[in-house]
Each structure stands twice: as C-alpha cells, then as structure tokens.
C-alpha cells in the first residue's frame, strides 16, 4: 500500500514540480509552438526537395518532438532536484525505489503524449492533411506508447544527470539523433544498413511506422506488432535507466558525489 502511495504522491509532486519548471512562458513556446514549426519546416523542405507527402512529415515530427518534453522533463526531475539539494534527502529515505522513480515518470509520459497529440492535431489542420477519424483512438494509443518509450530513455539520461553537469547538451544531442534515425523525416529504406540497425533500437521508430500506417487507414490489430516492439524498447530503457539510477545512487553514497553539481 505504501508503495502505491509513494507512486501516487511522488507522481503528484513531480507533476507540480514539472509545471513549476515549465511555466507557461516556457511551455507554450517550447511545447506548443515549436513542434508545430518543426512540422511545417520539414513538410516544406519535403516539398522543396520533391519528396514524400505532408502526412509523412506531420506524423513523423509530431511524435519525434515528444522527445523534448520526455527527455528534458525526466532529466530535470533529477537534475532539478539535485539542484535543490533534496535528492540527498530522498535517497536516504527508506522509500522503495521502484515506485519512487516510476511514480515520477508518469506525469512526464502523459505530458509527452499530450504534446505529440496536440502537434499532430495542429499539423494536420494547418497543412490540410486527411486522417480518418476512426484512426484517432488507435493513434492515441501509439502516441502514449511512444511517450512511454522515450521516457524510458529519459530515465537513462536522468541517471546520467547524477554524474554529468551539462545534461541539456546530452538531451539536445539525443534529440538530434532521434531526428535523423527514427524515420521521422527520412524513410528508413533510404538509410544505409548500419543506420537502420541503430533505428531499430531507438524509441519512436516503431511508433512512427505504426502511426503512419494508422493514418493511412490501417487497423489497430495490423500494427500491434510494431506497438509491441516499441513497448519492449521502452521497457528495456526503463529497466536500464532504473538500474543506472540505483548504481549511481549507491556509487554516489560511497564516494560522496551526490551533491556535486
């Protein structure tokens, strides 16, 4: 029961902390306006280069952009707390770690999904892209899974935030990799073999593929395998991230590095 409470309360606190950090003056430019412009940018570049349809870029970039809220928020939950020196207090608490860290992840996932969903909606309206209404619920599922998967990666960056100071650089670079490798803007078939191998293990790749098929009218059942793969990737990252967090935590206690910022 306590675990559940820690999960829920931790999540709530994380949520409030998240939105304190993400004041409207940051939220709106970064998470509402920017993704829409990214979509427009690549849609028009696509037109300029004589490539695929607008829908390709809308779906791809809407989902890829969720990397910003998912990675940044998750990293800041640790980086921010470290900054506020409360991490030490939390880590000496007897609270079981699993609900502690995962409780904090839930608002991040939900927020990330909202950002992607809004971007998708806005992009389709502005560019006049047709997506069947029947696809919307399935798309919601895919977006949620995508956000989960990237937040899993965020747990790893959050763990690294315990040791590295310039986490913003790290997350921005990850964002850049996700821009290139996930098929958000370049069809996977057009990438050389070694790059495709990398794509396969990154978040978003399978979700974007699934979302594109759904937008073209495919049924949810036909993309279940893609969704499953995305979920699996997310889980692997989450487990890795969690292990890394525990490892650094123990290391930090041993070498007194927890408060180093």
């Amino acid at each position: 029961m306590t675990s559940l409470r820690i999960f829920a309360v931790g999540g709530l606190i994380s949520f409030r902390a998240l939105f304190h950090w993400l004041a409207p003056s940051i939220y709106i430019p970064s998470l509402v306006v920017a993704p829409l412009f990214q979509i427009l940018l690549f849609a028009y570049i696509g037109r300029s280069a004589g490539l695929a349809s607008d829908e390709f870029y809308v779906v791809g970039n809407a989902i890829q952009y969720a990397a910003i809220p998912c990675l940044f928020a998750m990293t800041n939950i640790v980086g921010g707390e470290k900054f506020q020196q409360t991490l030490g207090a939390i880590l000496v608490s007897p609270a079981p770690r699993l609900p502690l860290f995962f409780g904090r992840a839930v608002p991040v996932v939900v927020n990330g999904a909202f950002v992607a969903a809004f971007a998708l909606l806005a992009g389709t309206i502005v560019l006049g892209v047709d997506i069947p209404a029947s696809a919307i619920p399935s798309l919601a599922v895919v977006i949620l899974v995508a956000a989960f998967s990237c937040t899993g990666l965020g747990l790893i960056t959050a763990a690294l935030a315990l040791r590295v100071r310039e986490t913003a650089v790290l997350t921005n670079i990850l964002f850049g990799f996700l821009l290139i490798f996930t098929g958000a803007n370049i069809p996977l078939d057009d990438l050389p073999g070694w790059m495709q191998n990398v794509s396969d293990v990154l978040p978003f790749t399978h979700a974007i593929a699934a979302a594109r098929e759904l937008a073209d009218g495919a049924s949810l059942t036909s993309v279940l395998d893609l969704i499953g793969e995305e979920l699996l990737i997310g889980l692997v990252y989450a487990v890795l991230g969690y292990s890394l967090l525990r490892f650094f935590e123990i290391q930090g206690r041993r070498h007194a590095t927890l408060d180093r910022s």
């Binding site: 427009l40 028009y44 280069a49 650089v169 670079i173 821009l179 290139i180 370049i186």
Partner: protein, 256 residues
C-alpha cells in the same frame, strides 16, 4: 573613433569568453549539424550537385542563425548570472555600446557553424563548394554576422523582462529557418508570408551568401541585409532606453 574601439575591444573579449565555453561554443556548432544531416539526406534523392550545394548553404546559414537565436535573447540574463551585469551598467558608455558587442560575439560563433556545416557537407556527403563571387561571399558572411548581431541585440533588449528569455529566443529558431527561405524557396510559401520574409535580414543574408556561391546578384541582397540590421539596431536602442530606466526604478539588475 573611440566608439569603434570600444565595440571592437568589447567584441573581442566577449567572443573569447563565449567561444571558450563548451556549451556556448562547441555545442552551438554540433547541434545544427543534426539538422544539416537531415537536410542532406532529404535532398540527396535528387543528385543534382547544385541542389545539394543549395542544401549545404541553407543548412550552413541555419547553423549561423541558430548560434544567435539560441543565445542572444538571454544575453542580459547571462550577464546577470555571471554577476557582471551591474558592473556593465555602472560603467560610463551607453549600454547599447556594451550589449551590441556581446550579441555580435554570439553571432560570430555562427561563422564556426557555417564553416563546420560546409565542411561536413563536403567530406561526408561529397558536396563540392563553388564560389562564383568569392569576395562577395566573404563579405556576405560578414554582413550576415553583423545583421544577425543586430537582430540578436533587439531580442536581448526586448526579452530581458522575461525570466525564460532563452525560451523565447529559441522560439525564433525554426520560424526563421522556414520563413527565411534557407531550404525552402520563398515561392513555395503562402503569399501572405512573403512580406514577413522580406522584413527579415536573415532572408537577405541567405540570398547574398547563396548567390555569391551559386551565381546571381548578391550585392543588392547584402545591402538590404545590412540596412535591415541597422533598422533593428535603431529599434533596439530605443527599447533599451526604456528597459534600463525601468530596471533602475525596479531594482532588477542583480536579481538572479
């Protein structure tokens, strides 16, 4: 004369301080390369060398703009964070003469971005660089840096009241890339967007650089680019007067 000296010396030391910071220096160069890679991969479908060079130049100027837009808006905030803002305001020169070198130093980092992107395109994607008007190419780069610095100055004074000034600066990264016609010919954009494009110095700087490489008439573009820069600077100075007066009244100079 003394004014020019002040600007030059200020620019020199501020550039030194910025370029030495890994976050503000090195990272500024690496980050736009991701977008350049996407652009190259997208344009590679058509193997026309001219198209690829078009993409390379566009991506290079995207990097230049990125260096300014992500940093300039937060220039005053950055000084405040260093604890140097008070010292700067309390010194005799008009604050514009102190702030402009800072934003110019930030936009000078853009030259690193430009060079890095062009080299990146050359060595990883085999894009050959041509310079139809080499002298004008160099001058266009200088002109673009100057006008970006002026635009950055305008951002810095306009967004100084906002705690998250950097977020607002970032807000202008994508739109200028798109509307400046760096990788998208303006003719593809809706008609109502074009006047906005024409009012942006980046659009003209891009044209000047592109035409001095691929061929065309870069000089008029360069002149318009610089003229717009002068306009931004003037507006910026007017805004600055009001901002500083308000800050001294509100005691907002040392708040972090």
């Amino acid at each position: 004369m003394r004014t020019l000296r002040l600007l030059a010396v200020g620019w020199y030391y501020q550039f030194k301080a910025i370029a030495r910071s890994p976050f503000e220096g090195l990272f500024q160069v690496i980050y736009p390369l991701f977008f350049a890679t996407v652009a190259f991969l997208m344009f590679r479908a058509g193997t026309d060398q001219k198209t690829l060079l078009y993409a390379s130049l566009g991506a290079a100027v995207m990097g230049m703009w990125s260096a300014t837009s992500t940093t300039a808006a937060g220039a005053m905030q950055r000084e405040r964070w260093h604890g140097t803002l008070e010292a700067l305001v309390a010194s005799p020169p008009h604050f514009a003469l102190i702030l402009l070198p800072i934003t110019l130093a930030m936009s000078t980092v853009g030259v690193y971005c430009l060079v890095a992107t062009l080299l990146f395109g050359r060595f990883l994607f085999g894009i050959d660089l041509t310079f139809e008007h080499p002298l004008l190419f160099a001058l266009s780069i200088v002109g673009t840096v100057l006008s970006f610095g002026a635009l950055g100055f305008l951002f810095a004074v306009t967004f100084v009241r906002f705690r998250a000034a950097w977020a607002l600066g970032n807000l202008f990264e994508y739109p200028v890339w798109l509307i400046g016609g760096f990788l998208v010919p303006l003719v593809l954009l809706p008609e109502w967007v074009r006047p906005i494009s024409w009012a942006l110095a980046p659009t003209w700087g891009m044209n000047a650089i592109r035409e001095s490489s691929l061929g065309g008439t870069p000089l008029p573009d360069l002149v318009v680019c610089l003229a717009l820069g002068a306009v931004y600077l003037t507006i910026g100075i007017l805004v600055l007067e009001r901002v500083l007066a308000a800050a001294r009244r509100r005691a907002a100079l040392s708040l972090t």
